[in-house]
């Protein structure tokens, strides 16, 4: 066995396959929900033709299944694959299975109560809208299961460090550990929100809840969640993409610096989602805005480093001149289908990143907050680079773990292109509609887009229709992908191996500096904690001082409280 491969046990092989296949089924349900959303908004349908229920139920399972369930599973599966592979150490399979089962049970539980219409609270589950307690318990199991998966990696990492004094930790491991350090700190707040506030309140043990406090705790989690989505994609960009393109990673140090900067700046920024909220001082909102600019920096560095890596690859493949290398990259090579998922995601992220900086820009948020601009923006991040990288990664991993040749490679290659075209059309429609005042999370088909309604807004209609066209194309793109994914899953394996021998396209660095100051997480975690305390203490104090009374629980169907 050479150093480019690692043999996983049969038990871990089965677990990781399960962690990839089941969320793909849930993702399909979620994406179906997404397609229906565009139809509801345009007034084409008034109730869901297959699963029943209204726009808001569909919006809830679209958000929860795609943005929370699918992403968490993939991050865990990628870590379960990359960390043992890079460190050449075995996972503790008991812990890994316990974590996997908790996540599976939790996700299915949450999905079932949503589909039964008992948790139409959207994926932000703001109180005082109340969901069935099983919704909160399901989400908790999913999060705790993912914690457990990462606890499994810590002793492996520490052991490796002990055995390899003076060596650099593989960049992919640094990236995965960073992802889960941020995830752990951020989810502490939402765990507190759920376990101490929402769950006892939804079960009737506590009467009232402080809505602003719950909301603030949610956003403590809600923005770092974005980096929990993004960072596994960054790991694949830094580790895989240069190698697949036929080049090297331009700077190893830049990669390490970027991950450490994410640890420092990912969390003390959540209040930029609450610029328009009461009970939080504007000066603290500005402070969170400044830190948000800090967290934009590693993404700008990433844009440079990855472009430089691709330029190196393109020139090696014969590209000439300032831009000639761009034409030499393997955009349409069937055997390098994975490259398309990564490069398209990066291209989309140019627009996603600009949109993010606009949203974070303090007063400018007034023009866009909670308008359709916002889903237009975040589909260019979480449903752009993140989704495409995760889909490409899932297909690659399933081929590796099940030891199967990828089926329908042509479909797999074209899928991200179809999807990307659809995504740009849909997001353009949502963003411009939003600038015209169209609200997000709103079933416009039943009012603003209905010519018979007194609320009819004629100048929104074109943009609403654009999002239908885009949505249909996105859906077709995903179906093409699923043909390839499930075609691969259900094909016959040529292997008679007990376990699975895995390999990853890990890039070599072009510039490789010792960067001793970037080798230890500890100082960066300490700085992060200091920034969190500084930025959140005044926010929480403001909220506690300026709010009055508590809130009884409500159902989305009645203006009368539930008790």
């Amino acid at each position: 066995m050479n150093s480019d491969t690692f043999r996983f046990s049969k038990s871990i092989k089965n677990l990781n396959s399960l962690l990839l296949i089941l969320p793909m089924v849930l993702l399909f349900i979620g994406i179906y929900g997404g397609l229906m959303q565009t139809m509801f908004r345009a007034g084409i349908i008034q109730s869901d033709p297959f699963v029943g229920g209204d726009y808001y139920k569909g919006l809830t399972f679209h958000g929860v299944l795609n943005a929370i369930v699918f992403t968490t599973f993939f991050a865990v599966a990628l870590g379960n694959a990359l960390i043992p592979y890079s460190l050449k150490k075995h996972l503790n399979s008991k812990i890994a299975w316990t974590s996997g089962i908790m996540m599976l049970v939790g996700s299915v539980m949450a999905a079932v109560v949503i589909l039964l219409g008992e948790a139409t609270v959207l994926y932000t589950f703001y109180p005082p809208l109340k969901a069935h307690p099983l919704f909160y318990i399901g989400l908790t199991l999913l999060v705790v299961g993912s914690w457990l998966a990462s606890y499994n990696w810590v002793p492996m990492y520490l052991q490796w460090r002990k055995e390899n004094v003076g060596k650099k930790t593989p960049l992919a491991v640094v990236g995965m550990m960073t992802t889960f350090i941020i995830w752990f700190i951020a989810t502490l707040a939402v765990a507190a929100e759920i376990l101490f506030m929402l769950l006892p309140w939804s079960m009737g043990l506590v009467d009232e809840v402080n809505v602003m406090l719950a909301r603030t705790l949610f956003w403590f989690f809600g923005h770092p969640l974005v980096y929990f989505w993004l960072l596994p994609a960054y790991v694949m960009y830094y580790s895989f993409m240069p190698k697949i393109a036929g080049g090297k990673l331009y700077s190893d140090m830049a990669g390490r610096l970027v991950f450490m900067m994410f640890i420092v700046f990912s969390i003390p920024v959540g209040t930029h989602h609450q610029y328009m909220d009461p009970a939080i001082g504007a000066e603290w909102k500005l402070l969170h805005g400044i830190f948000t600019f800090g967290v934009a920096l590693p993404s700008l560095i990433t844009a440079f480093t990855l472009a430089a890596s691709l330029e190196y690859a393109g020139k090696k493949r014969g590209g000439k001149g300032l831009f000639g290398w761009m034409r030499k990259l393997p955009y349409f090579e069937k055997e390098k289908w994975f490259f398309a998922y990564l490069i398209l995601g990066l291209f989309i992220f140019i627009f996603g990143g600009i949109g993010g900086i606009i949203n974070a820009s303090y007063q400018m948020n007034t023009a866009v907050h909670n308008t359709a601009w916002v889903p237009g923006h975040f589909h260019l991040t979480v449903a752009g680079p993140v989704l495409l990288a995760f889909l490409g990664g899932s297909l690659y991993l399933i081929g590796q773990f099940m030891h199967k040749e990828i089926r329908c490679k042509g479909w797999a290659l074209i899928s991200p292109y179809v999807y990307t075209v659809g995504l740009f059309i849909m997001s353009y429609g949502l963003k411009i509609g939003g600038l015209k005042g169209m609200p997000r999370r709103t079933n416009t088909g039943a009012s603003y887009a209905n010519p018979d309604s007194i609320l009819y807004q004629q100048d929104w209609i074109f943009y609403i229709d654009l999002s239908v066209i885009g949505g249909v194309l996105m859906f077709i793109g995903i179906i093409m992908y699923l043909v390839s994914f499930f075609g691969t899953v259900f094909s016959k394996s040529s292997s008679t191996e007990e376990g699975a021998v895995i390999t990853f396209p890990i890039s070599e660095p072009y510039h490789d500096e010792p960067a001793k100051w970037l080798r230890n997480f500890k100082p960066y975690i300490i700085i992060a904690i200091i920034l969190i305390v500084l930025s959140y203490t005044p926010v929480i104090l403001d909220v506690l001082e300026a709010t009055y009374g508590g809130s009884l629980p409500y159902s989305p169907n009645s203006p009368v409280p539930l008790r």
């Binding site: 009461p278 909670n370 709103t442």
Partner: protein, 152 residues
């Protein structure tokens, strides 16, 4: 770290500082700000509109499932309004089209923004936070009437 990398890092930092300059400019020169924490306002449960000066008004608005109270506000052109918004039940959102007013209406808290209407016309405000089954019907209008000649 090689030269081009250093240039890229510096330019990235400068770009962000430039954007930050834009925020400072908007705050100081254009006087546009985001809502802040207010503690000097008594909680209110019903809506009120009253005049506080020749061209200034105070409007206390209540959002509830699924309407704003008041849902239609008529004011003369040139009015400056001190706008207070709260919710009686769950979270709602309030944005006046073509104006720098975008406020979350949260139960147990009061949100505030001052706004001046210099252009006559109709301004739609639509609830923009999911507030239950009829959320998409929750909207209202501010009607700014043109200068009227004083009648007898």
């Amino acid at each position: 770290m090689d030269k081009s990398e250093k240039i890229a890092f510096t330019l990235s930092g400068m770009l962000l500082i430039l954007f930050f300059g834009g925020i400072v400019y908007a705050a100081i020169v254009e006087d546009i700000d985001v809502p802040t924490c207010i503690t000097n306002m008594e909680p209110f449960e019903s809506d009120t509109l009253f005049q506080t000066g020749p061209d200034s008004y105070e409007l206390q608005m209540v959002a509830r499932m699924w309407s704003f109270q008041p849902s239609v506000v008529t004011l003369p052109v040139g009015s400056t309004v001190d706008l207070y918004v709260t919710s009686q039940d769950i979270i709602h959102g309030f944005k006046i089209e073509r104006k720098n007013v975008n406020l979350m209406a949260v139960p147990g808290a009061i949100n505030y923004m001052r706004v001046t209407f210099n252009e006559p016309g109709e301004y739609l405000f639509a609830c923009h936070e999911f507030c239950g089954a009829a959320h998409h019907t929750m909207a209202g209008r501010i009607i700014i009437e043109p200068e009227m000649t004083e009648g007898p």
